[in-house]
């Protein structure tokens, strides 16, 4: 890693370090049930991160990121049941999901489908999974030893120690695995957007035609970041079904598809930490809403979404970063940093 890269990744690494501190401190500070439930939130944060990568940096508005998330969870569950251990199952889940995304992406990007139409295709794929898997409640729908279960879903075997299928992790231990996965995915994504590949992707987001005229094969770059994003979403899916203990076709529904987009919008397009953070915040909001019966939770979510689109269209993280930069600019600073004030590069 060059020193330039290190400098650019400094915010990413700072956040990652904070994440590591949280990972080790949380079990001592928080209650057991909070730790266990955090696993689910972490899994969703990985999903938000994957969309933040492909939408915020790749400019690909994928409405169906949950399709990869859910597919990852299903592939993990089915292979873990058949293999009888989680180690290979996780690998298979990530690889198979990425392969599926690559095939779908080939179809989309080499067909030059763009903007809203791309959104519709990905959403449609999600809804197809939703309908198809809900159709599989009969006993005849079986993959190896695993019953698909239709609407009811399948229970997911917990993660075990690598290559030791008899030592299952307890839910509170899965927390560490999930948190580590989130931090790794985050650092990986933070690194990726600072590589040449990542910079080309950003340039394509900014101006597709110009990038193409400069000689980059736009289709290939889009396909690349789309596939990587799907792989990250699959990691989230694996953690999700571990957190919930079960995977049901509900992950593929319209509500979840849209929720993913909300996290990224609220957190801020063009950052990675924003969407991940927003996921935690909104996760606790929706959980808290379920414990009371005064306000209808749809109502609250709807208001949040409208307020953000109208008043904070950039999302929380970029707005905060802009504000910090503006404050900083009032003080004398090195001119280089002033030029680098675009929120997009901040983390």
């Amino acid at each position: 890693m060059s020193s330039g890269m290190l400098r650019q990744m400094r915010p990413t690494l700072v956040y990652a370090l904070l994440g590591i501190v949280f990972m080790f401190a949380a079990p001592h500070v928080l209650q057991l049930f909070t730790i266990i439930n955090l696993t689910t939130a972490i899994a969703l944060a990985i999903l938000a991160l994957s969309l933040a990568l492909i939408w915020g940096y790749g400019g690909i508005l994928c409405f169906g990121q949950v399709a990869f998330f859910g597919l990852g969870a299903y592939v993990y569950t089915i292979s873990a049941i058949n293999i009888g251990g989680s180690t290979w199952a996780i690998l298979i889940a990530v690889l198979l999901t990425s392969a599926f995304a690559a095939a779908l992406g080939y179809f989309i990007f080499f067909g030059r489908v763009s903007d809203v139409y791309l959104g519709v295709i990905t959403l449609t794929v999600t809804l197809i999974f939703f309908s198809l898997i809900r159709r599989t409640s009969g006993p005849e729908y079986k993959i190896g030893k695993a019953l698909l279960g239709g609407f009811n879903g399948v229970s997911s075997p917990p993660i075990n120690l690598p290559w030791d299928a008899r030592t299952f992790l307890f839910p509170e231990q899965v927390f560490y695995v999930a948190m580590a996965a989130l931090i790794l995915c985050y650092v990986f994504a933070g690194w990726l957007v600072n590589t040449k590949f990542g910079r080309v992707c950003v340039s394509i987001r900014e101006n597709e035609l110009r990038s193409e005229l400069l000689g980059y094969d736009v289709r290939l770059y889009k396909l690349g970041i789309f596939t990587i994003g799907a792989g990250i979403a699959a990691v989230g899916g694996v953690m999700f079904c571990n957190g919930v203990g079960r995977i049901t076709p509900d992950v593929f529904n319209l509500y979840n598809a849209a929720l993913t987009i909300i996290w990224v919008i609220v957190g801020g397009r063009g950052t990675l930490i924003g969407p991940a953070g927003a996921t935690f915040a909104l996760f606790y909001l929706t959980s808290a809403l379920g414990g009371q019966s005064v306000l209808n939770n749809n109502l609250v979510l709807g208001v949040i979404l409208i307020v953000f689109v109208l008043l904070v269209p950039k999302g929380v993280a970029p707005t905060v970063i802009d504000w910090v930069n503006r404050r900083r600019r009032k003080r004398p600073v090195r001119s280089r940093r002033r030029r680098r004030s675009r929120a997009e590069d901040a983390g």
């Binding site: 057991l32 049930f33 266990i36 609407f151 919930v244 509900d250 379920g290 939770n297």
Partner: protein, 415 residues
């Protein structure tokens, strides 16, 4: 910002206190915690909302009678928002966070299967108060709702005697519908009838035109339905609109449990036959008194009581009886008390725990719909959960936590 440090210290010490789960029920041990997780918003709230009302009523009744063992019972009610992920989450919170003494939760089988392992792991007593497809064999879990051997086995012969031998089955496409449809076919065959066709519908289908054509082609003597949820109400409307209700009548094991009879008009619904372990017309003093108190509580526009709502009340009461009998709210003595053949006389009649399956022996009624009201036409007392009894024996083998019908009836050894 002088006060922020102080409040931070206070906050962190509070966290430190509450972060010692080993101390367990040290604080607040004067209250007995009763947690309930139901869908109060989202697509399943037509079932969840009345269940929550009767649960609240049950806890208020218990506290009005002086609580349990001289302690107040506190209700923690969670809305799972028709999302499975919240069931796991709130179950963890109820068991490990609230340290609930019992959790009464779940509507769909999917939600039950999400909760069951969590509560088994935290050794928290679990009640599932919903009518379902049968087959849960779990020492820690009490299923108080009716199962197909209790309702389907009654309504199928009744309808066949009344209308004829040729049956067309329409059912919701998920575990409950699939398994109930298998029971329906089995009981039709046992009674010398013929199943012409079985069709399954995803829960969000609203257009039943093609099916109505198929039913007209097949010409059955009657249709038996296990359709579920708000969207499926369209079936009855469209069926009636095509003028079919008068030609080919309908029997059902699900119509009415979400108070569907109020969602369609009188002429659309007249003549539908259904079977449950409770209808408002159940003829006993407890029921009359229960309905009066409910009306006093919620006003004249109270929800119509159905099996799910009443069983939620009775489930809470069964638990309360067991706590009194055991003299403690701790799990193991309460389970023993429940399994000693505990009976509670509720609005639906006598409900008795069957120790072999942790299900209930209960009264079963068959009703016919007239002007949006159910009229009981036949009743059966003390019906055992014969389906689950075929495969489950918790007396001989208490140490298990399985769902035996998950793979269908054939896999469980029932043809």
């Amino acid at each position: 910002m002088t006060f922020s440090r102080r409040s931070f210290l206070a906050g962190s010490s509070a966290l430190a206190l509450s972060s010692a789960p080993i101390i367990g029920r040290a604080q607040g041990s004067d209250k007995i915690i009763f947690a309930s997780i139901l869908d109060l918003s989202g697509g399943l709230d037509i079932y969840g909302a009345p269940m929550a009302e009767t649960t609240k009523m049950a806890i208020d009744d218990i506290n009005a009678a002086g609580g349990l063992l001289g302690r107040e019972v506190e209700l923690k009610l969670y809305d799972a928002q028709s999302t499975i992920q919240f069931y796991t989450q709130y179950a963890t919170q109820a068991a490990a966070g609230d340290r609930a003494h019992t959790v009464h939760a779940g509507i769909t089988s999917a939600s039950r299967e999400a909760i069951r392992p969590t509560l088994a792991r935290f050794k928290t007593l679990y009640f599932y108060n919903t009518q379902y497809e049968g087959g849960v064999c779990d020492y820690n879990c009490f299923c108080t709702g009716s199962t197909p051997a209790q309702t389907v086995a009654k309504v199928v012969p009744y309808a066949m005697n009344k209308w004829g031998k040729k049956v067309y089955i329409v059912a919701a496409d998920y575990n409950y519908g699939q398994i109930t449809a298998q029971w329906m076919q089995k009981f039709v065959a046992e009674n010398g009838g013929e199943t012409l066709d079985v069709e399954f519908f995803p829960l969000d289908v609203t257009n039943f035109g093609p099916t109505i054509n198929k039913i007209q082609t097949a010409k059955p003597d009657f249709v038996i339905s296990a359709l579920v949820g708000g969207a499926h109400v369209s079936f009855y409307r469209q069926y009636a609109a095509a003028g079919m209700m008068k030609e080919i009548p309908i029997a059902s094991t699900t119509f009415g449990v979400g108070n569907e009879q109020k969602l369609i008009s009188a002429e659309e619904g007249d003549g539908i036959i259904a079977s449950y372990s409770y209808f408002e017309g159940a003829d006993n003093a407890v029921n009359t008194e229960f309905l009066q108190r409910l009306e006093a509580r919620l006003g004249a526009d109270r929800p119509v009581m159905n099996e799910l709502a009443v069983r939620s009340y009775e489930g809470a009461m069964l638990w309360a009886e067991a706590v009194k009998m055991a003299g403690t709210p701790d799990r193991d003595p309460v389970i023993e008390a429940l399994r000693s053949g505990l009976t509670y006389n509720g609005p639906s009649g006598a409900v008795t725990i069957d120790a072999q399956t942790n299900h209930c022996n209960m009264n079963v009624y068959i009703s016919e719909l007239k002007d949006q009201t159910w009229n009981i036409v036949e009743s059966f007392t003390d019906q055992p959960p014969a389906d689950t009894q075929l495969v489950c024996d918790l007396v001989a083998n208490p140490d298990q936590s399985t769902f035996l019908f998950e793979n269908g009836l054939a896999a469980a050894g029932i043809e």
